[in-house]
């Protein structure tokens, strides 16, 4: 009975109102997840066996100076008050000062994030443009040698330590062959020439029409991007393959073939058309994975991005920077996940 009235009520609501309720629900779940993320980072920052006061005032500070700093940091307040203050600060984009760089953490992140974004984007592009066709072909020619090759390529991708492959890549293509630029984003004499617009050197140099810098930046980014691209490719080709296999065994494909459509049209227009939404979801997930998974890659290639920022800060016990970086990466991760969820709901009528 209660259920019946509820559905009745639901019918009377205007579509606009229903949409807003849906939106509010999504926003609420983002907020809840973000609050959880903040709680975890806050907790990690608290249990850290490093005294934040000592790292500011130094080992030899007097008792008075120590106490003053202790109170100024708000450490005398109850934990829940501290957590509340932390949340308010983070919402306002204030992650505190980095002890290592001396800048506000938010400024550091703004400066470094484009580098990570540039690398992950290029990696994802490589993964999509190689992995998706590979997956489709593997599904269509199931059991053939090309399917086997795709399988081995993916298996190796799943099993190879990324930092090791990066080192071997540097050894071969930089050390022995000299085909690519070494670690870093640019050669040292190219640095700080072009004004940062987007922070992504490839785009900035193209905007400034400085093709020398563009070529140099490309030679530096190509190896780490291919490395990340390979991991993205391994995942995307497998997913594409299983999506395609599911479609190809469906009856409408048989119908299309019986109708006399060319194999090309059956595969790319009908079957592939039906997996696009699933595929975009998976691509978004793999993109999020690359944004965070680039931690080790950035270290190998001395790439000045968020990943290497978090790790070097960790090693010098700069907790503000670590927590700030972690929150930002977590936020991007959550947003991309929700974005892919939304895409599913908007573009796939079956999900309703």
């Amino acid at each position: 009975m209660a259920m019946a009235t509820e559905t009745q009520k639901g019918r009377h609501l205007s579509p606009f109102f229903q949409q807003s309720i849906k939106l509010a629900k999504i926003l609420l779940s983002i907020a809840a997840t973000m609050l959880g993320l903040l709680f975890v980072t806050f907790f990690i920052g608290r249990v850290m066996p490093i005294d934040p006061v000592l790292s500011i005032v130094g080992e030899r500070a007097s008792k008075e100076v120590y106490d003053a700093a202790y109170i100024k940091l708000g450490l005398d307040k109850p934990l829940i008050v501290q957590f509340f203050k932390y949340v308010v600060d983070v919402v306002q984009g204030d992650f505190g000062q980095s002890l290592r760089t001396g800048f506000p953490v938010s400024d550091d992140i703004k400066r470094l994030f484009p580098a990570t974004l540039e690398l992950a984007t290029l990696g994802t592009l490589i993964g999509v443009f190689v992995g998706v066709p590979l997956g489709v072909i593997a599904a269509v020619k199931r059991g053939s040698w090309i399917d086997q090759v795709a399988r081995v390529v993916a298996l190796i991708g799943y099993s190879m330590p990324v930092f090791w492959l990066g080192l071997i890549g540097l050894l071969i293509f930089y050390g022995n062959l000299g085909w690519v630029g070494g670690p870093g984003r640019l050669d040292i004499f190219y640095e700080d020439i072009i004004p940062p617009v987007t922070g992504m050197i490839l785009i900035d140099s193209a905007l400034a029409q400085d093709w020398g810098i563009f070529r140099n930046a490309l030679s530096h980014i190509i190896l780490p991007a291919c490395l990340l691209g390979y991991y993205s490719l391994a995942y995307l080709s497998r997913m594409t393959r299983s999506f395609m296999l599911e479609q190809l065994s469906a009856e409408y494909v048989t119908t299309a073939r019986v109708k006399g459509l060319s194999e090309w049209a059956v595969i790319w227009k009908h079957a592939f058309g039906n997996i696009q939404v699933q595929l975009i979801t998976v691509i978004a997930l793999s993109y999020a994975g690359l944004l965070e998974g680039s931690v080790l890659t950035e270290i190998i290639f001395a790439w000045p991005g968020i990943g290497s920022y978090i790790t070097t800060s960790l090693l010098s016990a700069d907790m503000n920077a670590v927590m700030g970086g972690t929150v930002v990466v977590g936020l991007v991760f959550v947003l991309l996940n929700i974005f892919s969820d939304l895409l599913y709901k908007v573009f796939d009528p079956r999900a309703k």
Partner: protein, 304 residues
């Protein structure tokens, strides 16, 4: 008729005489279909070999993995007495590799115990109890899922201090949520089935239902998932070791060995290459085994 033949016939029987008989027969059938998968058998063989190497490390290793001979530093592969060469402190790489297999197995074994069991507990309780408990537990799971895994593990290790045990804890903390999700989904389908109602009517309490009737049914998909996750766990552990946050020197952990060899990569490539190949081989073996197990235990997802 020889003993093995009669054992085979006993195992292949269509009419089992006892519960144990039926169970053993089912396992034997699974093994027979698993055995036809060559790749999976290769994976299994590598892993059995790894366990043997780890168990007999002191017998196999030609030298003490910690003994430094500075005169013999950075010897190339194939040097007399050092089959795989030596590192920057003149330690025998083959011996370090052999002892390192113990650390790898230790980490993988512990994580493979902690993460699925935690996930199983959380997932089945959430799924069976439902209501507010379910909501709270799943919200927590979602939060951990939302976190980038390596970054979270990094932060945890930093907070707890570097070391193998803390690396295990950090990796487990980031690895359990998918198991919880899976166990919950399975519990939800099992919970509403008739036989659960039947035992409930016989007076079985929730504890008995969960431990005796729900867990056994979640196990097979859990095992497949664990095997497929092992490669990721090995790579994560090696990554932490590489960053200096896992096993500490002079411990011969493979990731840490790569990190040590990194400085000499251009002139002495083998120091970093050899442990990398070891990591690759072991995680590849786990992937092959996991694929094969999935085909046997979880036929609906497997490829025909």
């Amino acid at each position: 008729m020889s003993d093995t033949q009669s054992l085979r016939a006993w195992l292949l029987t269509e009419t089992p005489t006892s519960r144990r008989h039926a169970k053993l027969s089912a396992i034997y059938h699974a093994w027979l279909s698993f055995r036809t998968n060559t790749m999976a058998m290769v994976g299994l063989a590598i892993l059995v070999l790894l366990v043997l190497i780890a168990a007999t490390a002191p017998l196999l290793a030609p030298a003490d993995p910690f003994a430094q001979t500075l005169a013999d530093r950075l010897q190339p592969i194939g040097t007399d007495g050092h089959l795989l060469g030596t590192d920057s402190l003149g330690r025998d790489l083959l011996s370090r590799l052999i002892y390192g297999s113990r650390i790898t197995l230790y980490i993988v074994g512990l994580v493979a115990l902690i993460a699925p069991i935690t996930g199983l507990l959380v997932g089945t309780v959430a799924g069976y109890v439902g209501g507010l408990t379910d909501m709270v537990l799943m919200r927590i799971t979602d939060i951990f899922l939302a976190f980038p895994r390596l970054v979270l593990a990094l932060a945890f290790v930093a907070a707890l201090g570097a070391g193998i045990e803390n690396a295990v804890l950090a990796i487990s903390l980031t690895a359990w949520p998918p198991y919880a999700r899976m166990a919950r989904a399975e519990t939800l389908t099992i919970r509403s089935s008739d036989y659960i109602s039947a035992i409930r009517l016989q007076g079985a309490g929730p504890l008995r239902i969960i431990t005796k009737h729900i867990w056994p049914l979640c196990i097979s998909s859990l095992i497949v998932r664990v095997t497929l996750d092992m490669a990721g766990i090995i790579l994560a552990a090696a990554g932490l070791g590489f960053l200096g946050l896992g096993a500490q020197p002079p411990s011969p952990e493979w990731g840490a060995m790569i990190s040590e060899g990194r400085r000499f990569i251009l002139d002495h490539w083998w120091v970093a290459t050899v442990p990398g190949l070891a990591i690759f081989t072991v995680s590849l073996a786990f992937n092959l085994l996991g694929d094969g197990l999935r085909d046997v235990l979880d036929p609906k997802d497997g490829e025909k």
